[in-house]
Assembly symmetry: C2
Homo-oligomer: 221 residues x 2
Protein backbone atom coordinates (compact mmCIF):
# COMPACT_ATOMS: atom_id res chain seq x y z
CA UNK A 1 0.00 0.00 0.00
CA UNK A 2 1.64 3.29 -1.06
CA UNK A 3 2.13 5.73 1.77
CA UNK A 4 0.26 8.47 -0.11
CA UNK A 5 -2.84 6.36 -0.35
CA UNK A 6 -5.85 8.46 0.61
CA UNK A 7 -6.96 7.75 4.15
CA UNK A 8 -10.63 7.57 3.33
CA UNK A 9 -12.48 4.32 2.88
CA UNK A 10 -15.15 4.46 0.23
CA UNK A 11 -18.11 2.10 0.30
CA UNK A 12 -19.96 1.45 -2.94
CA UNK A 13 -23.45 0.21 -2.12
CA UNK A 14 -24.85 -1.86 -4.95
CA UNK A 15 -21.28 -2.29 -6.08
CA UNK A 16 -21.95 -5.52 -7.92
CA UNK A 17 -23.90 -3.59 -10.56
CA UNK A 18 -22.27 -2.19 -13.69
CA UNK A 19 -21.97 1.42 -12.53
CA UNK A 20 -21.03 0.57 -8.95
CA UNK A 21 -18.33 -1.88 -9.99
CA UNK A 22 -16.88 0.63 -12.43
CA UNK A 23 -16.80 3.37 -9.80
CA UNK A 24 -15.24 0.99 -7.27
CA UNK A 25 -12.56 -0.05 -9.77
CA UNK A 26 -11.69 3.55 -10.74
CA UNK A 27 -11.54 4.64 -7.10
CA UNK A 28 -9.38 1.68 -6.08
CA UNK A 29 -6.95 2.33 -8.93
CA UNK A 30 -6.72 5.92 -7.74
CA UNK A 31 -5.52 4.64 -4.38
CA UNK A 32 -8.63 4.68 -2.24
CA UNK A 33 -9.52 1.84 0.02
CA UNK A 34 -12.78 0.58 -1.46
CA UNK A 35 -15.50 -1.78 -0.26
CA UNK A 36 -18.22 -3.01 -2.55
CA UNK A 37 -21.51 -3.76 -0.87
CA UNK A 38 -24.41 -5.88 -2.04
CA UNK A 39 -27.63 -7.25 -0.59
CA UNK A 40 -25.82 -10.54 -1.06
CA UNK A 41 -22.53 -10.57 0.83
CA UNK A 42 -21.17 -13.53 -1.12
CA UNK A 43 -21.86 -11.77 -4.43
CA UNK A 44 -20.08 -8.69 -3.09
CA UNK A 45 -17.03 -10.76 -2.15
CA UNK A 46 -16.97 -12.43 -5.54
CA UNK A 47 -17.19 -9.07 -7.34
CA UNK A 48 -14.47 -7.62 -5.12
CA UNK A 49 -12.15 -10.49 -6.00
CA UNK A 50 -12.88 -9.98 -9.68
CA UNK A 51 -12.16 -6.25 -9.49
CA UNK A 52 -8.87 -6.69 -7.61
CA UNK A 53 -6.91 -3.65 -6.38
CA UNK A 54 -7.49 -4.70 -2.77
CA UNK A 55 -11.23 -4.10 -2.96
CA UNK A 56 -13.24 -5.82 -0.21
CA UNK A 57 -16.79 -7.13 -0.47
CA UNK A 58 -19.52 -7.46 2.16
CA UNK A 59 -23.24 -6.86 2.76
CA UNK A 60 -24.43 -3.30 2.08
CA UNK A 61 -25.00 -2.31 5.71
CA UNK A 62 -21.55 -3.49 6.78
CA UNK A 63 -19.95 -1.68 3.87
CA UNK A 64 -21.83 1.50 4.76
CA UNK A 65 -20.72 1.20 8.38
CA UNK A 66 -17.04 0.97 7.39
CA UNK A 67 -17.05 3.65 4.69
CA UNK A 68 -16.22 7.30 5.35
CA UNK A 69 -17.75 8.12 1.99
CA UNK A 70 -20.69 6.06 0.75
CA UNK A 71 -21.70 5.79 -2.90
CA UNK A 72 -25.20 4.48 -3.55
CA UNK A 73 -25.44 2.84 -6.97
CA UNK A 74 -28.68 0.91 -7.05
CA UNK A 75 -31.62 0.92 -9.47
CA UNK A 76 -34.39 3.41 -8.73
CA UNK A 77 -36.72 0.57 -7.72
CA UNK A 78 -34.24 -0.42 -4.98
CA UNK A 79 -33.43 3.10 -3.76
CA UNK A 80 -35.87 3.31 -0.86
CA UNK A 81 -35.21 -0.15 0.59
CA UNK A 82 -31.46 0.25 0.21
CA UNK A 83 -31.35 3.65 1.89
CA UNK A 84 -33.49 2.32 4.75
CA UNK A 85 -31.03 -0.55 5.16
CA UNK A 86 -27.89 1.61 5.35
CA UNK A 87 -29.32 4.76 6.92
CA UNK A 88 -28.30 3.84 10.50
CA UNK A 89 -24.66 3.90 9.37
CA UNK A 90 -24.60 7.22 7.51
CA UNK A 91 -24.63 9.86 10.24
CA UNK A 92 -22.24 12.67 9.40
CA UNK A 93 -20.96 10.94 6.29
CA UNK A 94 -20.70 12.08 2.70
CA UNK A 95 -23.22 10.11 0.66
CA UNK A 96 -23.06 10.15 -3.13
CA UNK A 97 -26.32 8.99 -4.66
CA UNK A 98 -26.12 8.00 -8.33
CA UNK A 99 -29.73 6.90 -8.68
CA UNK A 100 -31.43 7.65 -11.97
CA UNK A 101 -35.24 7.38 -12.07
CA UNK A 102 -35.51 4.99 -15.00
CA UNK A 103 -38.96 3.44 -15.15
CA UNK A 104 -38.84 0.23 -17.20
CA UNK A 105 -39.88 -0.52 -19.83
CA UNK A 106 -39.80 3.09 -21.07
CA UNK A 107 -36.25 3.85 -19.97
CA UNK A 108 -35.67 6.21 -22.91
CA UNK A 109 -38.47 8.48 -21.70
CA UNK A 110 -37.91 11.08 -18.98
CA UNK A 111 -40.08 10.17 -16.01
CA UNK A 112 -38.97 12.16 -12.98
CA UNK A 113 -40.44 11.13 -9.62
CA UNK A 114 -42.98 13.24 -7.76
CA UNK A 115 -40.21 14.70 -5.58
CA UNK A 116 -38.65 16.20 -8.73
CA UNK A 117 -35.58 14.00 -8.74
CA UNK A 118 -34.22 10.78 -7.27
CA UNK A 119 -31.71 12.91 -5.35
CA UNK A 120 -34.36 14.99 -3.61
CA UNK A 121 -36.23 11.76 -2.92
CA UNK A 122 -33.06 10.37 -1.32
CA UNK A 123 -32.78 13.49 0.84
CA UNK A 124 -36.29 12.90 2.12
CA UNK A 125 -35.55 9.24 2.83
CA UNK A 126 -32.27 9.96 4.62
CA UNK A 127 -33.37 12.99 6.62
CA UNK A 128 -30.97 15.33 8.39
CA UNK A 129 -27.42 14.60 9.41
CA UNK A 130 -26.09 13.27 6.12
CA UNK A 131 -24.01 15.23 3.58
CA UNK A 132 -25.92 14.22 0.48
CA UNK A 133 -24.60 14.77 -3.03
CA UNK A 134 -25.80 13.26 -6.29
CA UNK A 135 -23.55 12.56 -9.25
CA UNK A 136 -22.34 10.07 -11.91
CA UNK A 137 -25.72 9.98 -13.67
CA UNK A 138 -24.43 10.36 -17.19
CA UNK A 139 -21.26 8.30 -17.45
CA UNK A 140 -21.57 5.01 -19.33
CA UNK A 141 -20.53 2.27 -16.89
CA UNK A 142 -18.72 0.21 -19.52
CA UNK A 143 -16.56 3.20 -20.44
CA UNK A 144 -15.84 4.01 -16.81
CA UNK A 145 -14.75 0.39 -16.33
CA UNK A 146 -11.95 0.72 -18.87
CA UNK A 147 -8.64 2.50 -18.67
CA UNK A 148 -9.67 5.14 -21.20
CA UNK A 149 -10.62 8.81 -21.32
CA UNK A 150 -14.39 8.65 -20.99
CA UNK A 151 -14.64 12.04 -22.68
CA UNK A 152 -17.67 13.24 -20.78
CA UNK A 153 -18.22 15.33 -17.67
CA UNK A 154 -19.41 14.37 -14.21
CA UNK A 155 -21.97 16.85 -12.90
CA UNK A 156 -22.16 17.10 -9.12
CA UNK A 157 -25.21 18.31 -7.19
CA UNK A 158 -25.75 19.10 -3.54
CA UNK A 159 -26.92 21.79 -1.20
CA UNK A 160 -23.52 21.85 0.55
CA UNK A 161 -20.80 23.36 -1.58
CA UNK A 162 -18.11 21.74 0.57
CA UNK A 163 -19.64 18.30 0.05
CA UNK A 164 -19.94 18.94 -3.68
CA UNK A 165 -16.32 20.02 -3.82
CA UNK A 166 -15.22 16.70 -2.32
CA UNK A 167 -17.03 14.79 -5.05
CA UNK A 168 -15.74 17.10 -7.79
CA UNK A 169 -12.24 16.33 -6.49
CA UNK A 170 -12.98 12.60 -6.39
CA UNK A 171 -14.17 12.68 -9.99
CA UNK A 172 -11.05 14.59 -11.01
CA UNK A 173 -8.88 12.03 -9.18
CA UNK A 174 -10.64 9.29 -11.13
CA UNK A 175 -9.51 10.86 -14.40
CA UNK A 176 -12.85 12.51 -15.13
CA UNK A 177 -13.89 16.16 -15.08
CA UNK A 178 -16.11 16.95 -12.12
CA UNK A 179 -18.31 20.04 -12.47
CA UNK A 180 -20.39 21.80 -9.83
CA UNK A 181 -24.02 21.59 -10.92
CA UNK A 182 -25.57 23.48 -8.05
CA UNK A 183 -28.34 22.60 -5.63
CA UNK A 184 -29.53 19.04 -5.11
CA UNK A 185 -32.75 20.00 -6.92
CA UNK A 186 -30.67 20.54 -10.07
CA UNK A 187 -29.96 16.82 -10.12
CA UNK A 188 -33.21 16.58 -12.11
CA UNK A 189 -31.33 17.85 -15.16
CA UNK A 190 -28.71 15.10 -15.09
CA UNK A 191 -31.18 12.39 -14.10
CA UNK A 192 -33.47 13.32 -16.98
CA UNK A 193 -30.47 13.47 -19.30
CA UNK A 194 -29.82 9.76 -18.71
CA UNK A 195 -33.09 8.78 -20.40
CA UNK A 196 -32.15 11.11 -23.21
CA UNK A 197 -28.75 9.46 -23.60
CA UNK A 198 -30.41 6.04 -23.72
CA UNK A 199 -32.64 7.37 -26.49
CA UNK A 200 -29.65 8.80 -28.35
CA UNK A 201 -27.66 5.56 -28.01
CA UNK A 202 -30.54 3.71 -29.60
CA UNK A 203 -31.38 6.26 -32.28
CA UNK A 204 -27.81 6.90 -33.36
CA UNK A 205 -26.40 3.41 -32.62
CA UNK A 206 -23.98 5.13 -30.28
CA UNK A 207 -21.82 3.29 -27.79
CA UNK A 208 -22.21 5.15 -24.53
CA UNK A 209 -23.14 8.72 -25.43
CA UNK A 210 -22.44 11.22 -22.66
CA UNK A 211 -22.53 14.96 -22.22
CA UNK A 212 -19.81 17.53 -22.06
CA UNK A 213 -20.17 21.11 -20.95
CA UNK A 214 -18.93 23.39 -23.72
CA UNK A 215 -17.42 26.84 -23.35
CA UNK A 216 -14.38 27.86 -21.38
CA UNK A 217 -14.76 27.15 -17.68
CA UNK A 218 -12.56 29.02 -15.24
CA UNK A 219 -11.71 28.01 -11.70
CA UNK A 220 -14.88 27.65 -9.64
CA UNK A 221 -15.35 30.58 -7.28
CA UNK B 1 -33.41 36.56 -53.61
CA UNK B 2 -31.50 33.45 -54.67
CA UNK B 3 -33.61 30.96 -56.59
CA UNK B 4 -32.68 28.15 -54.19
CA UNK B 5 -34.09 30.04 -51.25
CA UNK B 6 -36.23 27.67 -49.16
CA UNK B 7 -39.89 28.16 -49.87
CA UNK B 8 -40.95 28.11 -46.23
CA UNK B 9 -41.66 31.25 -44.27
CA UNK B 10 -40.61 31.04 -40.65
CA UNK B 11 -42.25 33.20 -38.00
CA UNK B 12 -40.34 33.83 -34.80
CA UNK B 13 -42.83 34.79 -32.10
CA UNK B 14 -41.16 36.89 -29.42
CA UNK B 15 -38.49 37.60 -31.99
CA UNK B 16 -37.42 40.86 -30.37
CA UNK B 17 -35.90 38.90 -27.48
CA UNK B 18 -32.29 37.74 -27.45
CA UNK B 19 -32.92 34.12 -28.41
CA UNK B 20 -35.65 34.88 -30.94
CA UNK B 21 -33.63 37.57 -32.69
CA UNK B 22 -30.62 35.26 -32.87
CA UNK B 23 -32.70 32.42 -34.33
CA UNK B 24 -34.32 34.81 -36.82
CA UNK B 25 -30.93 36.12 -37.92
CA UNK B 26 -29.43 32.64 -38.36
CA UNK B 27 -32.45 31.41 -40.30
CA UNK B 28 -32.51 34.47 -42.56
CA UNK B 29 -28.81 34.11 -43.33
CA UNK B 30 -29.49 30.50 -44.26
CA UNK B 31 -31.94 31.73 -46.88
CA UNK B 32 -35.30 31.37 -45.18
CA UNK B 33 -37.92 34.08 -45.38
CA UNK B 34 -38.26 35.15 -41.75
CA UNK B 35 -40.78 37.25 -39.86
CA UNK B 36 -40.16 38.40 -36.32
CA UNK B 37 -43.27 38.85 -34.23
CA UNK B 38 -43.77 40.81 -31.04
CA UNK B 39 -46.66 41.88 -28.87
CA UNK B 40 -45.62 45.32 -30.09
CA UNK B 41 -45.69 45.47 -33.87
CA UNK B 42 -43.54 48.60 -34.01
CA UNK B 43 -40.86 46.94 -31.88
CA UNK B 44 -40.95 43.94 -34.20
CA UNK B 45 -40.47 46.16 -37.23
CA UNK B 46 -37.60 47.98 -35.58
CA UNK B 47 -35.90 44.70 -34.67
CA UNK B 48 -36.44 43.35 -38.18
CA UNK B 49 -34.74 46.41 -39.66
CA UNK B 50 -31.86 46.00 -37.26
CA UNK B 51 -31.40 42.32 -38.14
CA UNK B 52 -31.48 42.90 -41.92
CA UNK B 53 -31.42 39.96 -44.36
CA UNK B 54 -34.95 40.83 -45.55
CA UNK B 55 -36.53 39.98 -42.21
CA UNK B 56 -40.02 41.45 -41.71
CA UNK B 57 -41.59 42.52 -38.40
CA UNK B 58 -45.21 42.53 -37.28
CA UNK B 59 -47.49 41.67 -34.34
CA UNK B 60 -47.23 38.04 -33.13
CA UNK B 61 -50.59 36.88 -34.42
CA UNK B 62 -49.96 38.25 -37.91
CA UNK B 63 -46.53 36.68 -37.97
CA UNK B 64 -47.97 33.33 -36.88
CA UNK B 65 -50.63 33.57 -39.59
CA UNK B 66 -48.02 34.08 -42.31
CA UNK B 67 -45.48 31.53 -41.12
CA UNK B 68 -45.41 27.92 -42.31
CA UNK B 69 -43.14 27.14 -39.38
CA UNK B 70 -43.60 29.04 -36.13
CA UNK B 71 -40.91 29.38 -33.48
CA UNK B 72 -42.11 30.47 -30.04
CA UNK B 73 -39.34 32.24 -28.12
CA UNK B 74 -40.96 33.94 -25.16
CA UNK B 75 -40.25 33.82 -21.43
CA UNK B 76 -42.04 31.13 -19.46
CA UNK B 77 -44.25 33.75 -17.81
CA UNK B 78 -45.53 34.80 -21.25
CA UNK B 79 -45.96 31.31 -22.68
CA UNK B 80 -49.66 30.81 -21.96
CA UNK B 81 -50.85 34.24 -23.10
CA UNK B 82 -48.70 34.11 -26.23
CA UNK B 83 -49.88 30.65 -27.25
CA UNK B 84 -53.49 31.72 -26.71
CA UNK B 85 -52.86 34.74 -28.96
CA UNK B 86 -51.38 32.80 -31.86
CA UNK B 87 -53.23 29.48 -31.50
CA UNK B 88 -55.94 30.33 -34.07
CA UNK B 89 -53.19 30.56 -36.70
CA UNK B 90 -51.32 27.33 -36.02
CA UNK B 91 -53.55 24.58 -37.40
CA UNK B 92 -51.47 21.96 -39.21
CA UNK B 93 -48.24 23.92 -38.76
CA UNK B 94 -44.90 22.95 -37.32
CA UNK B 95 -44.45 24.83 -34.03
CA UNK B 96 -41.05 24.96 -32.35
CA UNK B 97 -41.36 25.95 -28.71
CA UNK B 98 -38.11 27.10 -27.09
CA UNK B 99 -39.62 27.96 -23.71
CA UNK B 100 -37.50 27.24 -20.66
CA UNK B 101 -39.25 27.26 -17.27
CA UNK B 102 -36.98 29.75 -15.52
CA UNK B 103 -38.61 31.06 -12.37
CA UNK B 104 -36.98 34.34 -11.33
CA UNK B 105 -35.24 35.11 -9.14
CA UNK B 106 -33.85 31.58 -8.77
CA UNK B 107 -33.06 31.01 -12.43
CA UNK B 108 -30.04 28.82 -11.62
CA UNK B 109 -32.28 26.32 -9.86
CA UNK B 110 -34.21 23.66 -11.76
CA UNK B 111 -37.92 24.31 -11.25
CA UNK B 112 -39.91 22.28 -13.75
CA UNK B 113 -43.62 23.06 -14.05
CA UNK B 114 -46.33 20.70 -12.81
CA UNK B 115 -46.80 19.34 -16.34
CA UNK B 116 -43.20 18.10 -16.24
CA UNK B 117 -41.87 20.50 -18.85
CA UNK B 118 -42.74 23.73 -20.62
CA UNK B 119 -43.07 21.72 -23.83
CA UNK B 120 -45.71 19.38 -22.43
CA UNK B 121 -47.44 22.45 -21.00
CA UNK B 122 -47.43 23.97 -24.48
CA UNK B 123 -48.96 20.79 -25.89
CA UNK B 124 -51.80 21.09 -23.40
CA UNK B 125 -52.32 24.76 -24.25
CA UNK B 126 -52.26 24.19 -28.01
CA UNK B 127 -54.34 21.03 -28.14
CA UNK B 128 -54.58 18.78 -31.19
CA UNK B 129 -53.80 19.71 -34.77
CA UNK B 130 -50.38 21.26 -34.28
CA UNK B 131 -47.03 19.56 -34.97
CA UNK B 132 -45.30 20.56 -31.75
CA UNK B 133 -41.56 20.25 -31.25
CA UNK B 134 -39.38 21.81 -28.56
CA UNK B 135 -35.77 22.77 -29.06
CA UNK B 136 -33.06 25.45 -28.74
CA UNK B 137 -33.13 25.38 -24.93
CA UNK B 138 -29.39 25.24 -24.38
CA UNK B 139 -27.80 27.53 -26.94
CA UNK B 140 -26.53 30.85 -25.63
CA UNK B 141 -28.35 33.55 -27.60
CA UNK B 142 -25.34 35.84 -27.82
CA UNK B 143 -23.29 33.04 -29.40
CA UNK B 144 -26.05 32.15 -31.81
CA UNK B 145 -26.21 35.81 -32.84
CA UNK B 146 -22.62 35.77 -34.07
CA UNK B 147 -21.08 34.24 -37.15
CA UNK B 148 -19.18 31.62 -35.13
CA UNK B 149 -19.26 27.91 -34.41
CA UNK B 150 -21.36 27.82 -31.25
CA UNK B 151 -19.77 24.47 -30.37
CA UNK B 152 -22.81 22.98 -28.69
CA UNK B 153 -25.64 20.74 -29.79
CA UNK B 154 -29.33 21.47 -30.38
CA UNK B 155 -31.51 18.76 -28.87
CA UNK B 156 -34.90 18.35 -30.53
CA UNK B 157 -37.97 16.84 -28.85
CA UNK B 158 -41.36 15.88 -30.17
CA UNK B 159 -43.79 13.01 -30.38
CA UNK B 160 -43.68 13.11 -34.19
CA UNK B 161 -40.40 11.88 -35.61
CA UNK B 162 -41.12 13.59 -38.93
CA UNK B 163 -41.65 16.94 -37.21
CA UNK B 164 -38.46 16.43 -35.18
CA UNK B 165 -36.54 15.63 -38.32
CA UNK B 166 -37.56 18.94 -39.87
CA UNK B 167 -36.16 20.83 -36.88
CA UNK B 168 -32.98 18.73 -36.79
CA UNK B 169 -32.50 19.68 -40.45
CA UNK B 170 -33.20 23.36 -39.70
CA UNK B 171 -30.61 23.33 -36.92
CA UNK B 172 -28.10 21.69 -39.24
CA UNK B 173 -28.84 24.30 -41.92
CA UNK B 174 -28.17 27.01 -39.32
CA UNK B 175 -24.65 25.66 -38.80
CA UNK B 176 -25.50 23.82 -35.60
CA UNK B 177 -25.78 20.10 -34.86
CA UNK B 178 -29.39 19.04 -34.37
CA UNK B 179 -29.90 15.82 -32.41
CA UNK B 180 -33.09 13.82 -31.94
CA UNK B 181 -33.90 13.82 -28.22
CA UNK B 182 -37.04 11.71 -28.34
CA UNK B 183 -40.53 12.29 -27.03
CA UNK B 184 -41.82 15.74 -26.10
CA UNK B 185 -41.68 14.64 -22.46
CA UNK B 186 -37.89 14.36 -22.79
CA UNK B 187 -37.78 18.13 -23.21
CA UNK B 188 -37.60 18.23 -19.41
CA UNK B 189 -33.95 17.22 -19.64
CA UNK B 190 -32.94 20.14 -21.85
CA UNK B 191 -35.19 22.62 -20.04
CA UNK B 192 -33.69 21.65 -16.70
CA UNK B 193 -30.22 21.80 -18.21
CA UNK B 194 -30.69 25.51 -18.91
CA UNK B 195 -30.84 26.34 -15.20
CA UNK B 196 -27.76 24.20 -14.76
CA UNK B 197 -25.90 26.10 -17.47
CA UNK B 198 -26.85 29.39 -15.82
CA UNK B 199 -25.39 28.02 -12.58
CA UNK B 200 -22.23 26.87 -14.38
CA UNK B 201 -21.81 30.23 -16.14
CA UNK B 202 -21.92 31.94 -12.77
CA UNK B 203 -19.78 29.45 -10.86
CA UNK B 204 -17.07 29.12 -13.49
CA UNK B 205 -17.31 32.66 -14.93
CA UNK B 206 -18.08 31.03 -18.25
CA UNK B 207 -19.37 32.89 -21.26
CA UNK B 208 -22.28 30.89 -22.56
CA UNK B 209 -21.67 27.31 -21.47
CA UNK B 210 -23.58 24.75 -23.51
CA UNK B 211 -23.75 21.01 -23.79
CA UNK B 212 -22.42 18.61 -26.37
CA UNK B 213 -23.30 14.96 -26.74
CA UNK B 214 -20.12 12.90 -26.59
CA UNK B 215 -19.46 9.56 -28.22
CA UNK B 216 -19.67 8.68 -31.88
CA UNK B 217 -23.14 9.19 -33.30
CA UNK B 218 -24.11 7.38 -36.47
CA UNK B 219 -26.88 8.31 -38.88
CA UNK B 220 -30.22 8.36 -37.07
CA UNK B 221 -32.29 5.31 -37.95
Amino acid sequence: MPSDRPAQTIAVIGGTGHLGAAIAWRLARTGYKVIVGSRDGAAAMAKAGELGHGIAGMPNAEAAALGNIVFVTVPFAAQAVTLADIRPHLAGKLVVDTTVPLMPPKVARVQLPAEGSAAVRAAGLLGEGVELVSSFHNVAAHKLAQDIDVGCDVLVFGDSKAARSQVVALADAMGLRGIHGGALANSAAAEAMTSLLIFINKTYQADGAGIRITGELNQAD
